[in-house]
């Protein structure tokens, strides 16, 4: 398929550094020396900070352990059984699914639309881009705090809007029906700017001659968009989808200041569920089991996605 010539997205960078086919080294000998020199430190760090902690979590997940002293009470796979029997875990899983769905169905289209509008050079384009990108710069924890004030049913912005219509304001974060919705709105608000920036970068790297050629051939603006621009953006869209899904699976630091997963576990994500059980309750074995399950889901997704959708990236 057609690939943008000067793709400046992260994808382009990834291609040159990881794909062996893309980089042709001068000779096997030279590459071997590089391998000998650079692989051991990387491998060591990877083992220390990635493989060992994961292995440790898997090991702990076999114990009924509260984090004090050494784990001794081996219970095999019981922790996994307990996790899968917990209603709150399935709720958390469902919520992660919801976040993914909203990210894909609302956030990315919104980001793409804005990117198409703002990629062109006009007065104020840069200012608008920065404005939309701003939420992404803000720390998650601060965002959560700010929105917990915005949503406050007594003093918040939402409450005053509601009152201006003469209605009794709702406490969005305090109801099992609306808490998750409130979290989802913040998720979209916080991250659409990031995807928009990715799309803008990709759009600016597009080969303009292809679009011009299409226009000369008689394509309307929307036809050129549909048949030329969007297909040229596919690599970036695929990357965006990947980021959105992995980010959604790991969502935690927005949820804690907003709802801490409540009320009644209705807005837990898998990570906040892990934290509430593994850390707050000091059920380290149980928490480790949740962590391993989450890790398995993420890895399975990442590899499958890479295999199916990003094969030729």
């Amino acid at each position: 398929m057609a690939r943008p010539v000067a793709n400046v997205s992260a994808m382009g960078v990834a291609k040159t550094s990881f794909s062996p086919l893309a980089v042709r080294g001068p000779s096997w000998d030279g590459r071997f020396t590089v391998l000998i020199l650079f692989l051991p430190p990387a491998l060591l760090l990877f083992t220390l900070f990635v493989v060992l902690p994961i292995g440790e979590a898997a090991w702990y997940s076999g114990f009924n352990w509260n984090g004090f002293g050494k784990p001794t009470n081996w219970i095999g796979f019981d922790n996994y059984r307990f996790v899968l029997e917990t209603r709150a875990f399935w709720l958390a899983l469902r919520n992660n699914g919801l976040i993914i769905a909203v990210s894909l169905a609302v956030q990315l289209p919104l980001a793409l639309t804005l990117a198409l509008m703002l990629a062109e050079r006009f007065r104020g384009a840069v200012a608008l881009r920065m404005l939309f990108f701003m939420p992404y710069i803000l720390a998650e924890i601060a965002t959560g705090l700010i929105f917990s004030f915005v949503y406050d049913g007594d003093y918040g912005l939402v409450a005053s809007i509601w009152r201006s219509f003469g209605a009794e304001p709702p406490h969005l974060l305090a109801s099992t029906d609306t808490a998750m919705l409130a979290v989802l709105i913040v998720v979209v608000w916080k991250y659409f700017g990031f995807h928009m920036m990715l799309f803008i970068a990709a759009l600016q790297g597009l080969d303009k001659s292809l679009i011009e050629a299409a226009r000369i051939d008689g394509a309307t603006r929307s036809q050129a968009l549909r048949h030329v621009v969007i297909p040229l953006l596919y690599p970036t869209i695929r990357l965006s989808v990947f980021f959105a899904i992995v980010g959604s699976l790991q969502l935690f630091d927005l949820v804690m200041p907003l709802t801490r997963g409540g009320p009644a576990d209705s807005s837990n994500t898998m990570v906040s569920f892990l934290y509430n059980n593994g850390i707050s309750r000091m059920r380290v074995g149980y928490g480790s089991a949740i962590g391993v399950i989450l890790f398995a889901i993420c890895v399975t997704f990442a590899f499958t996605y890479k295999r199916w959708f990003m094969r030729d990236e």
Partner: protein, 419 residues
């Protein structure tokens, strides 16, 4: 020669410095207190101790309540752990003792420990060995706003049993007053209802039987009934709008602002509501009232039984002996009297309650003295894994997402899984 002399001088200076450093002992003291007035007194106590004990330095460290609970296991296993840590006794203390991360201070406090209220010391004793010193007691009960109660023509002194409370809630609602404020997002303020009902219904015997797994454990009749009565209250919708989204400090402030008639709270809230009220003034003593948690018809618990906290300090494994020495000084009659006079604590050192100069604090001290069964908060006494489930399920009953029977079963399931 001159060079040698200089070198010698430098070496001597180094040695002197090193030996001076070796003579110094630092006692690291980790606390969670947020009241600046109280921390100020603690600082003064620490400096006074340093002045009378040359070579000892007391270093205060602070962690916020929830962060402290979350980090505790890691902190205790670190080489750089603090020497003195805060404790609510109960299940967490038991786990710490079993893991061997605490110092047994029985011998060091021999003789001295007789000056402490026996029940308070017992909370920090396990198998006859002392692992910490208590510092304060508290009682859970209803704080009320006299003006709002009068507006609905409810006499707080007349609320003696559960039905009286339900009637009071109805009267307050009819008068257009929010009956009760609660910090439901923190969950534990809601567990007071369920726990105190269980204390009233089953008394000490039921709790101890449940701990042993007898009579159906926490799925037994007492605890189901506690949930059912709590549900009766919840069904009247007594709480402020959006109570499940309120954190405890917010709720306390709300009460201090005079926006709700009652709050079921720890006795310390009597003073805390001033600091957390929007105007930092809160309710003055003449506007605030108190009544004990109502009794339940046919309940086995005595009306004098109390629910509350027993808090204190532990010394971690391998701490210098100065740590215990400082604790003994901190929990001495002199310091306790001073803290009592500031209305910060109900003291645990015998005789220190003479310092109490506020009628409310005196009342609580008298209540605790009368109590034959002082139940430590369930979320503390049952340990983190079961206690937090108690918090969860009470919040779920309040939110209507769990039935009292399911709640009782969930706690029993957690007890069986245990840790």
């Amino acid at each position: 020669m001159r060079l040698l002399g200089k070198l010698g001088l430098a070496a001597a200076a180094c040695l002197l410095l090193a030996s001076a450093a070796a003579a110094d002992t630092t006692v690291k003291w980790l606390h969670i207190e947020v009241n600046p007035a109280q921390v100020k007194i603690w600082e003064e106590v620490a400096r006074a101790y340093e002045a009378s004990h040359p070579g000892v330095k007391v270093e205060m460290q602070f962690l916020e309540n929830e962060a402290y609970k979350a980090k505790l296991p890691t902190i205790l296993q670190s080489k750089d752990r603090p020497n003195i840590i805060y404790s609510w006794a109960g299940g967490v203390l038991k786990a710490q003792i079993e893991a061997g991360v605490l110092d047994d201070i029985t011998d060091q406090v021999k003789g001295y420990s007789d000056s402490l209220t026996p029940a308070a010391l017992a909370a920090f004793t396990s198998n006859g060995r002392v692992y910490g010193l208590p510092t304060a007691l508290s009682q859970v009960g209803f704080l009320c706003n006299k003006e709002l109660m009068a507006k609905a023509k409810v006499d707080p002194a007349g609320i003696k049993n559960w039905d009286d409370l339900l009637a009071a809630v109805k009267a307050l609602k009819a008068a257009g007053v929010t009956p009760i404020v609660v910090g439901g997002a923190d969950k534990w303020p809601l567990h007071f209802y369920w726990t105190h009902l269980a204390v009233r219904i089953g008394g000490k015997a039921a709790f101890e039987a449940a701990l042993r797994g007898e009579d159906g454990g926490f799925a037994g009749e007492t605890f189901q009934k506690a949930g059912e009565l709590f549900k009766q209250l919840v069904d009247l919708q007594p709480f402020q709008n959006g109570f499940l989204g309120f954190k405890n400090p917010q709720a306390v402030g709300y009460f201090g602002d005079g926006k709700a008639a009652m709050t079921l709270a720890i006795s310390t809230v009597y003073h805390l509501q001033r600091a957390l009220a929007a105007d930092k003034v809160g309710l003055s003593d003449d506007k605030i009232c108190w009544f004990d948690f109502p009794v339940v018809a046919g309940g086995k618990g005595a009306p004098t039984d109390t629910l509350g906290g027993i808090t204190g300090w532990l010394t971690t494994k391998g701490s210098p002996k100065e740590a215990v020495d400082f604790l003994k000084y901190f929990v001495s009659k002199e310091v306790q009297t001073r803290l009592a006079a500031g209305n910060f604590i109900i003291p645990v050192v015998q005789g220190a309650d003479a310092g109490l100069n506020n009628s409310f604090m005196k009342l609580i001290a008298a209540n605790l003295a009368k109590s034959n069964y002082h139940q430590d908060f369930y979320d503390q006494s049952l340990g983190p894994s079961v206690g937090r489930v108690v918090n969860d399920v009470t919040a779920e009953i309040a939110g209507g997402s769990m039935s009292p029977q399911e709640a009782a079963k969930a706690i029993e399931a957690a007890r069986k899984q245990g840790n």
